[in-house]
């Protein structure tokens, strides 16, 4: 052993530079051959953590639904077993290889499912208070959705693990933050539903309820009410889901009925609904447009578009921007305060697009929990 002039300790036959080179060569070889395995391992860990979160969320939603059925719904017997069966119910969509008449088939299946859910919940509870029944429906829907999300994520996690499929795992890992965000929004909705508080999606019903106040209402379709009122010489047919229950109603059936069965010839249909905002857009921002402003599976939208097209009635939309979390949890101040501005926009649209003596159809679309009329 001896010291070099620059002070570096040297061992004969043991070169530090060679050792570092060897380390780098080894590192490069390992990453070259095992990179995907290493990343799969990291992805598996990441997904596993997310899956644990989803498990806790779906268990919490299930427990909250059972507690509500027992404590508020006064279920006479322990509903746990029925709730567990309910969580695994499936709705089989009709075959779409022959698309003619598909919307009618979907409508039939969805209606059958909704009727069955309500009947079963009614049988589970020891009371017929429509608000409690509708809240129970919504709580079970949340629990079912979380259960389904958990099952799908678990399926791909186990499939990726079993087949060692790098791309399955990486795709799932990339989607996990969005999935967790959506699941989190669903779980947060439980609190608002339990308390019967209006949700962000209910901004349409909030606005139209102002036009229905003090006017006679009648049921126009399942869970949907309509009032006839007047604004600056125009006859308004105002409709919304029947509140304060957590209903979305059947605005498609209602609009079709008003135009085709009641023989009303509206000069315009104005629809007010919540719309998902893009990142960067402000909550409560109002957007105007044309077309049927309604979400869901597409049946209601189809019915409204068909009725409007047949009768050649222009469709106008007024949208209030919000995130998915804000849409299904208690209404934020920014959204509630947009109601006044939406009323002004609605009045302006009616004044600009129709004239005195015309008939106008106004529909407030969305979940009407905590919003009567």
């Amino acid at each position: 052993m001896f010291l070099l002039p620059n002070g570096v300790l040297q061992v004969p036959g043991f070169d530090t530079t060679s050792l570092i080179s060897l380390f780098w060569i080894g590192f490069i070889l390992i990453t070259f051959f095992y990179q995907t395995r290493l990343q799969s391992y990291l992805a598996l860990n990441d997904i596993s953590r997310g899956l644990n979160k989803l498990t806790a969320m779906k268990d919490k939603a299930r427990k909250e639904a059972i507690d509500y059925l027992v404590n508020v719904g006064k279920a006479p017997a322990d509903p746990t077993q029925r709730v567990d069966q309910f969580l695994d119910y499936v709705t089989i969509m009709p075959v779409d290889i022959d698309p003619a008449g598909l919307v009618g088939k979907i409508d039939h299946i969805v209606t059958t499912n909704n009727d069955r859910v309500r009947a079963e919940i009614g049988a589970l509870l020891n009371q017929s208070n429509p608000v409690t029944v509708s809240i129970s429906e919504n709580l079970l829907e949340v629990a079912t959705s979380l259960n389904m999300i958990h099952k799908i994520v678990r399926h791909f996690y186990l499939l990726g693990k079993k087949t060692n499929s790098y791309f399955t795992l990486i795709q799932l890992q990339m989607l996990m933050p969005m999935i967790i965000q959506e699941a989190d929004a669903l779980l947060n909705a439980v609190d608002s539903f339990k308390m019967g508080q209006p949700v962000g999606d209910g901004i349409g019903p909030v606005v139209v309820s102002r036009y229905m106040a003090g006017v006679e209402k009648r049921v126009i379709a399942k869970d949907t009410v309509m009032a006839i009122t007047e604004y600056k010489g125009r006859k308004l047919y105002v409709l919304k889901a029947d509140g304060p229950m957590a209903y979305v109603g059947q605005p498609g059936v209602a609009i079709k009925k008003v135009i085709e069965e009641m023989g009303v010839k509206p000069s315009a249909i104005v629809m007010i609904d919540a719309a998902l905002k893009l990142e960067g857009e402000k909550t409560g921002e109002i957007a105007e447009g044309v077309g049927a402003a309604i979400g869901g599976i597409g049946v209601e939208k189809f019915q409204i578009e068909e009725a409007a097209t047949k009768a050649k009635v222009p469709l106008y939309a007024i949208l209030v921007k919000q995130s998915i979390l804000e849409a299904i949890t208690v209404m934020r101040k920014e959204i509630a305060e947009a109601a006044d501005k939406v009323s002004q926009v609605l009045n302006r649209v009616i004044e600009e697009k129709t004239k005195e003596g015309d008939e106008v159809l106004v529909a407030g679309i969305g979940n009407t929990l905590g919003v009567a009329q």
Binding site: N188, D191, S192, M195, G196, Q197, P198, V206, S209, A213, G243, P244, S323, L325, E326, T329, V330, M331, R332, K333, I335, A336, E337, A339, G370, V371, A372, Q373
Partner: protein, 66 residues
């Protein structure tokens, strides 16, 4: 008072009910209680004693908890 987690989870949302007098337009803000809903009859107006109606129910951020 009813409260739910806010968007960022650091804040809590407090839920309020707004009662509006249809006669004089006076608005009263109070904590939400279970059973409140939009268009439900509220208390008497503090200004003109006419019956009020619930016009809005909404949540707003409380101060961030440390």
């Amino acid at each position: 008072m009813s409260s739910v987690p806010g968007n960022d989870k650091k804040t809590k949302l407090l839920v309020y009910t707004i009662e509006e007098c249809p006669a004089c337009g006076q608005k009263t803000k109070r904590a939400f209680t279970v059973g409140d809903y939009v268009t439900k009859d509220g208390a008497k107006c503090t200004k003109c004693s006419n019956p009020t109606r619930i016009s809005l129910v909404y949540a707003e951020n409380s101060k961030p908890s440390r």
